[in-house]
Amino acid sequence: MSATRGNGWTGVLALALIALVLAFVPLVAEKFYVQFFAKILIMAIFAMSLDLLLGYTGLVSFGHAAFYGVAGYALALITPQYQAANFWTSFPLAIAVSALLAFAIGFVVVRMQGIYFIMVTLAFAQMLFFLFYDTKIGGGNDGIYIDLRPVARIGDWQPFNLDNFAHVYYLALALFVLVFLLLRMVLASPFGRVIAGIKANEHRMQSLGYGTFWYKLACFVLAGATAGVAGYLAAVQFGVVNPEMLGWHLSGAVMMMVILGGMGTLTGPVLGATVWMLLELWFQDITKHWHLLMGAFIVLTAILLPNGLIGLYGSLARRLARNHD
């Protein structure tokens, strides 16, 4: 058990503080860094959604990018040519597509366990990847450009303009906070306790009378829909969708972010995504062969930190507390 779980309101306070600091980013930083921070927020949402499966339910999905990617494709496909889509309809629609896909795939896969679950989720994601890669449905290999960003107009009033990079950033920040609080609420609810029970001992939960299949499926759908939020934002931010958004590279990378940060906590994946993106930026600056540094860093973390980065924080805190006594 991680030391950071169940810290009551300190977590929410910390989040509020971080969100407040992050709210100032567009006021002081250049466009590049604002967009970079938005990317971190998007990946953090994505990583949190995967951790719901990986860390909380014990379902290791190696195809999570599928739900991220289809939300992006959903936006690209409903955006009419030479016209902008409506944010208020396209956003829920994209998430619904992700959720529906998660329901369909989850219905088949949540019965499976261990490495077989890993591989079947990968298989479904790869099928989807090749569906978009090999056919003309989504522009094939090149993907689709979203030249005109969705418009968020209500009547005559436009609360935000997604052509403005700072507004995209604020949207990402708002959704990040929303998703964090929502997942926190879900995990603290009776539903969340059942999920934790399933991870600890599924047979016992079954004999207590819980239909664990439906709980796991609900979790899978929630995780898929949340990944859809991240995918939609990514499509808006980058203005392009391509099959790579569904590929196993991304599924692998986001899984690495979660494990790196620390599974089974909400802060872990956020930390993992942040550190991952910052390291990428930093290493790219140092050398052309930055993958070498990234790889070495990952290998060392995996060997030296048994519970990810958040575990490092936990063990430091414990040691401090012990010294204090």
Binding site: L54, V60, V108, R111, M112, Q113, G114, I115, Y116, M119, V120, L122, A123, F124, Q126, M127, F130, L131, Y133, D134, T135, W248, H249, G252, M255, M256, I259, L260, M263, H289, W290, H291, L292, M294, G295, A296, F297, I298, V299, L300, T301, A302, I303, P306
Partner: protein
């Protein structure tokens, strides 16, 4: 489909399947015996191909380069077990995945530093660089037949070593109960090191002999890795027999998926969606047998 074309595709499918078996057998052995999920396994396929290409260019002969490249890959395997893998035995599978994912990045980048990012090719080596004519227009390259033969020989060799030798007995015992084997005075650490190096060498060897018939290219390991995981899971984790049967299935399904025409209700399915066939096959088999064909029940 014409008989000769069918024959050619059949041979291609079998050859591709057997080559996959070489890579997948290493993956399944390392998992079955050591309990390690090594996602960097595909990188050694790539390293093998690049070793064959660069050494053949240096010494001027593919056949001289081959033993040197095999020896080098065994050394890499031994070193890697000592440096990295031995810390992972008692760890959760996910951390093994994380760690070996890091290794993929390291190897892919080392390849870029050492050999560059260009796509290379290797001529088909001398005694096998001709084709057997089947009809006036169709022929079959002998080198592919040679690959199939070598792979079969390796498969038989593996079976012999694991089932019939003293080393094999120790390996099998080590897979069942590591602590018991150790308390009987067998150096299990050494056995693991040998198994890991052998697994690496198998993947690298597959890359070496595949180099003359496929492009030696960056990222070639990743594709093979994913397909090999499919093979291993269909066959049942840890089962070498399962890996052999699954490799042949995948080889044939993938090859014929690219040449067969299939339409369902006016929608063209094959060969347009041929890349999906192996994944459909895997999902289907796992729904039918959730632990693969020869896997132990979970």
């Amino acid at each position: 489909m014409d008989f000769h074309i069918f024959l050619i595709q059949l041979l291609n499918g079998v050859q591709y399947g057997l080559l996959l078996f070489l890579v997948a057998s290493g993956l399944t052995l390392v998992f079955g015996i050591m309990g390690i999920i090594n996602v960097a396994h595909g990188s050694f396929y790539m390293i093998g191909a690049y070793l064959a290409w660069s050494l053949a260019a240096q010494v001027g002969s593919f056949w001289l380069a081959l033993p040197v490249a095999i020896a080098l890959s065994v050394l890499i395997g031994l070193a890697l077990e000592w440096l990295v893998v031995r810390w992972l035995y008692k760890r959760d599978h996910l951390y093994q995945v994380l760690c070996t994912y890091g290794l993929i990045l390291v190897f892919e980048e080392l390849r870029s530093v050492l050999w560059g990012d260009d796509v290379r090719s290797l001529p088909i080596p001398a005694p096998f660089n001709y084709s057997i004519p089947l009809t006036d227009t169709l022929s079959y390259p002998v080198y592919r037949l040679w690959i199939s033969a070598v792979c079969l020989a390796v498969a038989f060799g593996l079976y012999f070593v694991i089932q019939k030798t003293r080393l094999g007995m120790m390996i099998r015992a080590g897979a069942t109960d590591r602590d018991m084997v150790q308390s009987l005075g067998i150096n299990i650490q050494l056995i693991y090191r040998i198994v890991f190096a052998a697994g690496i060498a198998l993947a690298a060897f597959a890359g070496m002999i595949a180099a003359p018939i496929s492009a030696v290219a960056p990222g070639m390991g990743n594709h093979v890795l994913i397909i090999c995981f499919v093979v291993v899971v269909i066959g049942g984790l840890g089962s070498v027999k399962g890996a052999l049967i699954a490799s042949l299935m995948i080889g044939l399904v993938d090859t014929f998926g690219k040449v067969v025409h299939l339409e369902l209700g006016g929608v063209k399915l094959l060969p347009e969606l041929s890349s999906m066939t192996v994944y459909v096959l895997m999902a289907g088999i796992l729904l039918w047998r959730p632990a693969g064909l020869f896997g132990k029940k979970l």
